[in-house]
Symmetry: C2
Subunit: 298 residues, 2 copies
Amino acid sequence: MDKAFAIRGLWCALLTPLDGQGNVDGARLARHARELMAQGIDGVAPFGTTGEGQSFSQREREAGLASLIEGGVAPQKIVAGTGAASLTETIALTRHAVQAGSAACLVLPPFFFKEISDDGLYAWYARLIEGVGDSRLRVLLYHIPQVSGIPFSIDLVARLARDFPGIVAGVKDSAGEWENTQRLLQRVPGLAIFVGHEPHLPRLLQAGGAGTICGVANVRPALVKALMQPKASEDDIARVVEFIEIAFRQPFLPAFKAIVAERTGDPGWLAVRAPLVPLDAGQRQTLQQALQRSAAPL
Amino acid sequence: MDKAFAIRGLWCALLTPLDGQGNVDGARLARHARELMAQGIDGVAPFGTTGEGQSFSQREREAGLASLIEGGVAPQKIVAGTGAASLTETIALTRHAVQAGSAACLVLPPFFFKEISDDGLYAWYARLIEGVGDSRLRVLLYHIPQVSGIPFSIDLVARLARDFPGIVAGVKDSAGEWENTQRLLQRVPGLAIFVGHEPHLPRLLQAGGAGTICGVANVRPALVKALMQPKASEDDIARVVEFIEIAFRQPFLPAFKAIVAERTGDPGWLAVRAPLVPLDAGQRQTLQQALQRSAAPL
């Protein structure tokens, strides 16, 4: 098995645009991805947390991935979010993404039951890998305990990396705690470690990490790209920190969609799936004013 | 619309037996349900938390419900667990259960995103009801924040009850906090209020509540049935409390399955779906010894 894993750099955790009926707008999704890639991002990750992945059914997510590819995004530039609460659906989604040629699959742990043992999570990923049964599979473990409720222990990551070399290819660490990221880099240096929290990117890259799969790239790709440079400055970091601080004053995901709606002049971008709620006009105005006063108004 | 809601009494949150391949064993599920009903429970609720509902796909859950009905359980004796992380799948599952004739649907709130607003949850249930589009729908709101991460505020329950009279028919309050149950009884007296925590049953019934949808009924139906009697004693309550205390010394769901496996002599009952882990031989022995020493050995 080829243990090399080519994914590095700046990947965008894609927002999912909806049509007038609240369904995935595949054509607009592909256009958004192409525009971001034209601005220098390395690839896209649909149907993660920023992509409201869990708000769509298996069929909707499979169709969305197909739309991206039909819309001109090369499969090797796609990390597909394929986690679901059930193993059955996660196997089906992951198999579909592998067969479509995706570079890797970003797989949440099962997130309904809480206080799950490492043995239970290990068994879950082992059955996923066995169930997909395809040597092309590359799994990124998705550590986002503040949302999923299910943290990965470093021991579990190491055990999975040891027993499924090449297949378990990396971790997306979206907890935003640098100490955890640092422990991963030390303990599993063969894995591709990605951060979700963009300001950690310069020190991650210095320490040998792989890059970022992040939401800010939807709306400020240049800001994040600056953090990929060997000479990223404290000012570059401060600009991203300020942007995040402003965006997170309201629920960040509807805020990101509002920013795209403003930039493109397309109010269709405002729509989110329930249980999320779009920003109202007052929230949008407050957000825009804060951004206009910031160091990165566009 | 008929606002009367007939479901009251003792309903079992069914365990889900698996076959040798780890798939739902529909015939054994129906047999388990029939045996419990022969012991005097009023109905069954498949694919809730105790039924590992979120560990099965939409298709598996639809097939499981069909197996119950084909296996001789009358649909009006079934409250179907139809919640899923996505609205799309929840609508599909709920519509299927309504068309199958289920007495009601027990619907979790969407449980991936956390810190969701009441407006977002309201919109989610409103779209569910609109999406199912069937006046036979009866929704039980499923309050189990210690697992789902999403509590229902009393205000939200009242708002849904007001705007969807008859359709929003009740609450399954599985938080185990009597104060919350009491507030529901006071604020939405027209709803059928069920508890998950069996020891609260006598005071719930005294206060006008509907009954219980509970897991202990899988393994000790007579103990729970005793709590349904007008003259349930402190001793009756103490026996259930002791049983729960013993069962919860290990993960309760694999423990319940181990108890059924022991009673039926069928080790196939031990199997759980990942990420849960079955009890090992040592845990089973410890559990059985504790139960044998208890006031409710069988």
